[in-house]
Symmetry: C2
Amino acid sequence: MYLENVISPADVKKLSIPELRTLADEMRTALIKKLSEHGGHIGPNLGMIEMTVALHYVFDSPKDKIIYDVSHQCYPHKMLTGRADAFLYPEHYDDVTGYTNPLESEHDFFTVGHTSTSVSLAAGLAVGRDRTGGCENIIAVIGDGSLSGGEALEALDYAGEYDKNLIIIVNDNDQSIAENHGGLYKSLKALRESNGESENNIFKSFGLDYKYLDDGHNIEKLIEIFSSVKDIQHPIVVHVHTIKGRGLAYAESDREAWHAGGPFNAEDGSRNYGGENDSDPVFESLKKLLDTNEKAVVLNAATPMGLGFTENVRPEYVKRGQFIDVGIAEENAMAMISGIAKNGGTPVFGTFAPFFQRTYDQLSHDLCLNDTPATFLVLMPGVYGMNSNTHIALCDIQFFSHVPNLIYLAPTSREEYMQMFKFATTQKNHPVGIRVPAYLPKTGIEDTTDYSVLNKSQIAVKGSYAAIIGVGSLFGLAKNVADEYKKQTGENITVINPKFLTGLDEELLESLKANHKLVITLEDGEVDGGFGQRVAGFYGDSSIKVKNFGLSKKFHTDFNADELLAEHGISVDKLVEYIKHSI
Amino acid sequence: MYLENVISPADVKKLSIPELRTLADEMRTALIKKLSEHGGHIGPNLGMIEMTVALHYVFDSPKDKIIYDVSHQCYPHKMLTGRADAFLYPEHYDDVTGYTNPLESEHDFFTVGHTSTSVSLAAGLAVGRDRTGGCENIIAVIGDGSLSGGEALEALDYAGEYDKNLIIIVNDNDQSIAENHGGLYKSLKALRESNGESENNIFKSFGLDYKYLDDGHNIEKLIEIFSSVKDIQHPIVVHVHTIKGRGLAYAESDREAWHAGGPFNAEDGSRNYGGENDSDPVFESLKKLLDTNEKAVVLNAATPMGLGFTENVRPEYVKRGQFIDVGIAEENAMAMISGIAKNGGTPVFGTFAPFFQRTYDQLSHDLCLNDTPATFLVLMPGVYGMNSNTHIALCDIQFFSHVPNLIYLAPTSREEYMQMFKFATTQKNHPVGIRVPAYLPKTGIEDTTDYSVLNKSQIAVKGSYAAIIGVGSLFGLAKNVADEYKKQTGENITVINPKFLTGLDEELLESLKANHKLVITLEDGEVDGGFGQRVAGFYGDSSIKVKNFGLSKKFHTDFNADELLAEHGISVDKLVEYIKHSI
């Protein structure tokens, strides 16, 4: 076996073309075995095997620097840069993360997980090289799905004016996570169908040099084309056509389903996700809206599955004009919903929480300054959401709560979510964001709250001495703390569900002064700049004591949510002790 | 005179072509008179007169909806939509804002001031129209300078897939504020030089239909081309070549200097800006860095003048590779500085505070997650910065302070700025942002602080009972409050300059507990989620009282800074009274 003897790219360079082909086969076999046992990104990595072999054969990493966009396609790169064991031996599977990671290897330059960043980062490396007298190759590897993001397009435009070595490899597999969207994909299709010769070449229109390779799984041709651009002294795009999921028939034929996932049966591609879950409240709410309000339209940015709009559900709503996937283009989606609402439509934009980080200017300037009644759904924020530092969203409250005119809501149950969604999509006064945690418990009791009365919190348990305000996912914990405290002391403490994160219920907070001495806030993200400090500010000149609990300011990663919370003093036992000791 | 009788676009439609030409001449004369007496955006509006006349002749505003990008070129539009008086009569000059404003007219659809938003907003209006059964034309007017912004490129890509009426007019005057940058401008140049026939058409490469008009000041031809696309049932780009500053010789010949400005002598273009100011500390710091460190490079995003790099200064540094204008592409600039620092360079990115709103994801994910030692300068934040709701930056502390790994510094004097800049550009540990107020007073005393000792605040005055923490621009006010308090009571109160906004000086704050009962925080932006609430959180479980002063959560606009602060209790008299009454 060649693979187990590849300690560094130098070992790749020693092999003949036939041996490289065998190496690629070994890599594919190892990848499929690990993925089927462990899960991970499937299609993107199977499509990058031959390209990665050729890259490390031609270029001299880590002197030459390869930057992978999103970096969820970096498994073959890790296999060839001293980390093959993590793909060969189950006991080492978790030695590596799913993304490039400078802490793992000198061949990785950035910790990344968001799309569309590679060309900018590579352009920066190139300028850094120019300033420090270096002469290495800088290579960005970007998938077609990532091209539509504003950061990538801005960077292609910059590269079109830059005048030194910068190699941009477009790994075109004609697929984002779902199908590609946007007019530029017509250009890519025309280029694929004309062997790179079609007119109105999107890359050339940005002023870039260009080469095309149709067979992105032919190692010999890949080596040839990469060799032809090595040490080139101007920016160039090398457009390579690959097949997502290459070598795994069911992944090749259903590219969306096999983009990523948990363990599966490698023989037949069957997957067992356990018993049926409850229906997804997000999908349920959106479907009902679209089916009952023809003015309604749902937008997403290349993550339709996050909203429950899977391949079999989407076509009908797309046909009706009620479901729009803008591709990876969150900025455009956030601005568009302002326009749609302004012209009488009822728009809802939803995507995963970390990707809202791209929309701040559109949120503030295009949406909230114009105070248009659009709705957006922030999926899986907080400590119970994603848990890699490449994808966390522990600062969504910081990010949204201070923006004027916005109403940002934190449901603590499925029923509250449903009522908040109904409020958001029927009112005509303000933009509304709803933070939708990964899990919303059912209470079994319909929520009939009138959310048009803004900033009204709910007292769930009436008590005295201490009050706990539990934001969103931590409201349940707050109730558990009160239960345990009562069990231990016989006394009730107050439990509050704030519901609104963009304003305090000042009347309620004021009323607590009568018979409370301590207010505790719990939030499932960073404490610095979060909800609790607003409460502390409110009580600052009173005699009420306030203690804010939340996470420390850090890019937390690979954590168990309950353990991380407990490390920050957020557990039933620790909080009960805190209250008892504060008396 | 036709102009004074134009109450609405209906009055434009009644005129013959020669009369329209006369109307345009009258508009130009009125514009030059108002601009010379009042100041404003000069070049952009002089270049849009004929186009605006033709737009209102052909389309039926407000049913047809025209969205102006940035909207600093909307003066001719205002003249033809019931607001001519504001351009004819000095006593009405201030009846209108410098941007589109739905509060002024039904012909204005959005309050906007940031670039690159028009195509997204127009696409949203178009989808809203589709959902509500409308049939109007939706027209985006975008300047070539705005095209390079990620939001605009994402929206062009979306438009390339969209399939109903959407008219995108590219007002191409071959100029941003300064000269254009980015490879796409090569495409625009080639299109201009080939009468729209050159290959690799950037718009067609996004899948869009396309028409070109070379003489963008010929009303007849403009009417012809707009009439040809009216009611078109798919998206189309109408690329129109115009001349920035058209009709004012000195503005045509120096387009950067005449983009915008204060009053001037219309006869000869002479301008009197009063006496020489002190040299700009930002320019001084950057020039010194570039002249002494060849690894250093300054980036800006189409606002070189904000950094003092005017037309006569730039060329030398551009030639050396030490000054890069990425065009309007803030996302790319923020990510690039991470790459530059990673590869050994010393990058500094600077632009105006509101435009950092576009960089949050790059700041968090590309820069701070990777903890690369890059520097950025946030120009003119806070209440003493810009004062239009289209351009304010009253939430920069909220935006930056919670991001892990970042050091965000608030100088209160020129000397502090210089020392902080030196620290930022010589340390190799973390990204550093410096908020640079519009005015930095000189102390005359060199700052020798070692800023590598993080989060150390400075006690400027030692006192007891009360302490005032004055952030950045309000540090001077804090000292004045202490002076006045002493004058009135004979007692010293403590005055603190926090310097660091990304962490509290916990040791110092702890020490105040010994002989203080009240801590007051002053900040020149929104109080909600700001610096003061962090202090309130720190003292929440102690007996120290905290009172946070800052602005309310609102898109404040057209304010006098001192008056706005006073309305929020921030003035020497009000604060002295507050302290006296709190005893």
